[in-house]
Structure formats: C-alpha cells, structure tokens
C-alpha cells in the first residue's frame, strides 16, 4: 500500500491527510466531519484517549500520594504546613508550557518530563484540601476516639482520614479535571495523549481533527468527574444522610 496521499484542498487551504476515501466534507475542510471522525476514531483517537487517561491517572496518583503524605505530616506537625504550601503554590504558578520546556534539558523529551510537571500542578489543591479535611474533623469525635483507646495511627486510618474524604474527593475532582486539561499541553514535549492530534491539527489546519480531539478531552474530563462523584457517594454514604427531626 502506498503512503496516504495528500489532497490539496480547494482554494489553497490546509494540507489534510486523506487516509483513503476523501468525502466532500473532508476535501472542503468542513467544521466537523462526523463520518471521518467515526471512521478514524479507533485508529487515530482511541489510542490517544487511552494515553491521555494514563497520563492523567499517573499524575493524579503520584500527586495524591505526595500530597496526602505531606498533608498528614502537616496535620501532625504544624510547622510543615507553610513550607509545603509555599513550595506547591510556587510550582502552581509556573506557566505550563514553560514548565514542560524547563524539564526537557533535565529529563528529556518524554513522558517522564511531562509527568513531573503534571504531578507538580496537582500538589497544591490536593494538599490544601486534604489538610482542610483532616482539620475539619470535629474535636468531639477525636476526643471520643482517644477516650476509647484508639492509637494515633488507628485514629488517623479509621476516623480522621475517612471523615476527611469529602474534602479529599473534592480536591481530587478539581485536580483530575485540571490535569486532563493540562495534559493536552504535555504533547508539546512528546508525551502523547489527546494533545497530539490537537497540535497536529494546529499545524495542518484540519478542523475536524482539532475539534474531535478537543471535544474528546472535554468529554473525558466530564466523564471522569462524574465517575469521581459516584465513587464519592459510594465511599461516603454517611455524608448525604439528612438529619431526622
């Protein structure tokens, strides 16, 4: 099979890969050619979508592990709060494109560089929310737990962390949605994901590809957010009960 021929669109428009049969919509570079999108979804978009999800999951997972640990330390040792807050806030202020570019000389053009930057952006919100959640545990609940002879570790695992879950989940939702959005930029340093077809489409001017990839990123964010809400309801059944008077 010969390489995909290029079709020169009418009126000197953008160069669009044909991948076989070019419909009228494609040759005219219409806003969104649905049939082309569905034909190419499996081969062009699905792998990118999966990649995107992986990039996000790793970033949020690693970020959560770091932020939870930091929040628990800050909960037990007050002095730790300010330095970690400042550190994570500083990371948060770095422009994303610059951050990705900054990592290249250190860790190269690859996923690792992208993940380091993505993880950095999750820390502030996850740290703040976890710490706020832990500090919001009612004093009386902690006193009861102490009086029952729960060790500090048992208190943390059985009482304090579970009660901080609504705040932790709220932070996780924001961090995840933000990361899904940011991950599109990570394609700039070759991390893959849905940013890849977006960058390609910016180069070629192919509107359908651009809108499809952008739309998929948005859809992914919404679906994941809804999934997290459902997870939260499942793991905090107590938080939605109404007071019976």
């Amino acid at each position: 099979m010969t390489p995909a021929p290029l079709v020169l669109a009418a009126g000197g428009g953008p160069v669009i890969p044909n991948f076989g049969g070019a419909s009228k919509c494609i040759t005219q570079n219409g806003q969104f050619c649905a049939s082309w999108f569905f034909d190419n979804f499996g081969s062009r978009f699905l792998p990118r979508l999966v990649e995107h999800l992986q990039l996000t999951a790793i970033a949020v997972g690693v970020g959560a592990a770091i932020a939870f640990t930091a929040a628990i330390i800050a909960y037990k040792q007050d002095w730790f709060e300010t330095p970690f807050s400042l550190f994570s806030a500083f990371l948060y202020t770095i422009p994303s494109l610059a951050f990705f570019e900054l990592m290249v000389p250190i860790t190269g053009i690859n996923r690792l560089s992208a993940e380091i930057a993505l993880v950095s952006y999750t820390l502030l919100i996850l740290f703040r929310n976890t710490l706020t959640g832990l500090r919001g545990v009612p004093e009386a609940t902690i006193e009861a737990a102490r009086a029952m002879g729960l060790t500090p570790r048992q208190r943390l695992l059985r009482i304090e962390l579970p009660l901080a879950l609504p705040a932790i989940m709220a932070g996780l939702r924001i961090a995840t949605v933000t990361t899904i959005s940011l991950t599109t930029v990570a394609a700039y340093i070759g991390a893959g994901g849905l940013g890849q077809p977006i960058f390609d489409a910016i180069q070629t001017g192919f509107k359908t590809e651009f809108i499809a990839a952008g739309g998929l990123a948005i859809a992914l964010a919404i679906v994941v957010d809804v999934a997290l809400v459902l997870v939260q309801r499942l793991i905090t059944p107590w938080s939605r009960r109404q007071v019976r008077v």
Partner: protein
Amino acid sequence: MTGRRDSAPAEIAFRDVVKVYPARERPAVDKLSFEVPPGEICVLIGPSGCGKTTALKMVNRLIPISDGDITIDGASVRQLELSELRRGIGYVFQQIGLFPHLTIESNIGAVPRLLGWPKSRIRERAAELLELVGLDPKSDLKRYPTEFSGGQQQRIGVARAMAADPPIMLMDEPFGAIDPIARERLQNDFLRLHSQVRKTIIFVNHDIDEAIKMGDRIAIMREGRLVQIATADDLLAAPADDFVASFVGADRGLKRLRVRTLEEIELGPPPPDGRASGPTVSLDTSLHYALSIMLAEGTTRLEVTDGDERVVGTVAMDTITQLIAPAAATNPA
C-alpha cells in the same frame, strides 16, 4: 467468652491528685483525695473552673496527672498501658462525639472491634445495648448518627461507652446539651439501667438537682479542692460550709424532701380498721411528693398505704415542714 456476664464494678480512688498547668499560678486540681466504692455513682460538682472535668479526665488520662495517683481496684492508672486503660473505661461526654461516618452498629462496636471480638458477637452486643437504651435495633442499627436527635444520640453514646462492658464509666455533663424533657427521661432511663448493670461511675455536672437525683454520693469541688463528699441527704442536711450551703441552694430543706421517702419518717397511727378514709400515698413516695399532694388536695393529712393498699399510718403536713425547718434555720438566706 460469649456467655460472659457484666464484669464486676471496680473501685476508683484518688490519692492526692494534682494537676498543674504551666502558665497558671494555682493548680487546676489540688491534692484531691476521695474514693468511689464499686457500683456507686459519684457526682463531681462545683462552679465552672473548679477542676471537676480535669479531675474526671485524669482517670482515663485524657489529661496527664501532674502528681499523686488514681487507682482502679488498687492498680495505678499511671502504670497501665494507655490503650488498655481506656478500653476498660466507658466515656460519655456532653458533645457525644459519635463517629458520623459509621453506622450505629459500628459506633457501638468500636471498642469491641479494637478488642478483636468476632463480627457476629459485635452485632449481637450492639443490638442488645440499643434495646437497653431504648432504641430499636431492627430499624436503627444501620442508620447514621446524623439521623438521630440529640437525646437519641446520647443514648447511643451511652450504649457505645458500655459496649465492651467496662467496669468503670466516666460521664462529663452527659445530659447537659439535651432539652429538659428528654434529659429527665434520659436520667430516669440511665438510673434504671444502672440498677440492672452496675458500674462504678464518676459523673461530672454543675446542676445540683441532677446531682441529687443521680448521685449515690456527691463530691463538691471548689478551686481544685474537694470541699465535701457526702450522700445527697447528708449534704442537704449538713453542708460543710457556707460555700456548700449556697451551692446546694437556700431551698435545700425542700430539696431534701425529694431524697427522703415516707418509709424514713415516723408515721402517725393508722385507722383501726386499716381502711382509707381520705387521700392516700404509698410508703415509697418521696416527702416532696407527699407534700405536693397535700397542697393539691387542700388537706394537712394523708393516709399512707403499703404495697397491698393497706393503710399503715398517717402523715401530717407539720411533720414534713418540720423536717425542712432545721436545715433552713442554719442558712441565713
């Protein structure tokens, strides 16, 4: 083990217990010494800041002891391992502190779970206790704390404190935040419960009427020191000093009528045929209630009946009012 019945109540003894806070001149608790015999309810009472809550919380070491010692059946609480000490002491306090994320069953089962009880036994125990405190195990075990009123939550709090059947319970103003009607019911239910399942209880509050009702003995504290420890009757009859007299109230003579029953006074002779000819009250009626009946009925005499409705004597208003007088006379107010 499953067949084990309630453990024997323990004796609690304070020995020159001192609590000093670094920034304060005066100790919060100053050489406090008293004993609570097994199975008794001892009410610690006094104005706010008198050290009563501090004293209570030193028993399970929620507050560390500065000097002196507290012993449980002779064993120093300072020697016991902290978790072990606390698991053997039920703790009920005003803010209740139920775990909002756990069902009622898990709340009650918290300490048994720490002790490694099997699930089935925890469930049985939770159901048994919930019934004991007047809630419905069938509908309430799987609910969450926020679904209950304050009074119901404190009933659950009491059940939770009793879950592993501790020989001792510490209660820090447990009914303080409950509305008066629910509080009265809680007090009555708790006393009934205590008569069935005897525990050694230290009960902190600042309401002398509740203390008189709940306490086998009442310990009055002021500025970290014990001023007087006595039964309600003795306390009302003979306050140790002016502070105690004013704390128990100028109407202590009247209050004393609540803690004494007709059985404790000398009755007038019954009618020869043993049949009632006017309003009657039974022997176990409090003097306070008997007096109320006289006032309500507009009479100065009541006939007193025993358990079989037989008249065994009479009581005159004068007899009761004379009992108020001597106590009141020593109080200039």
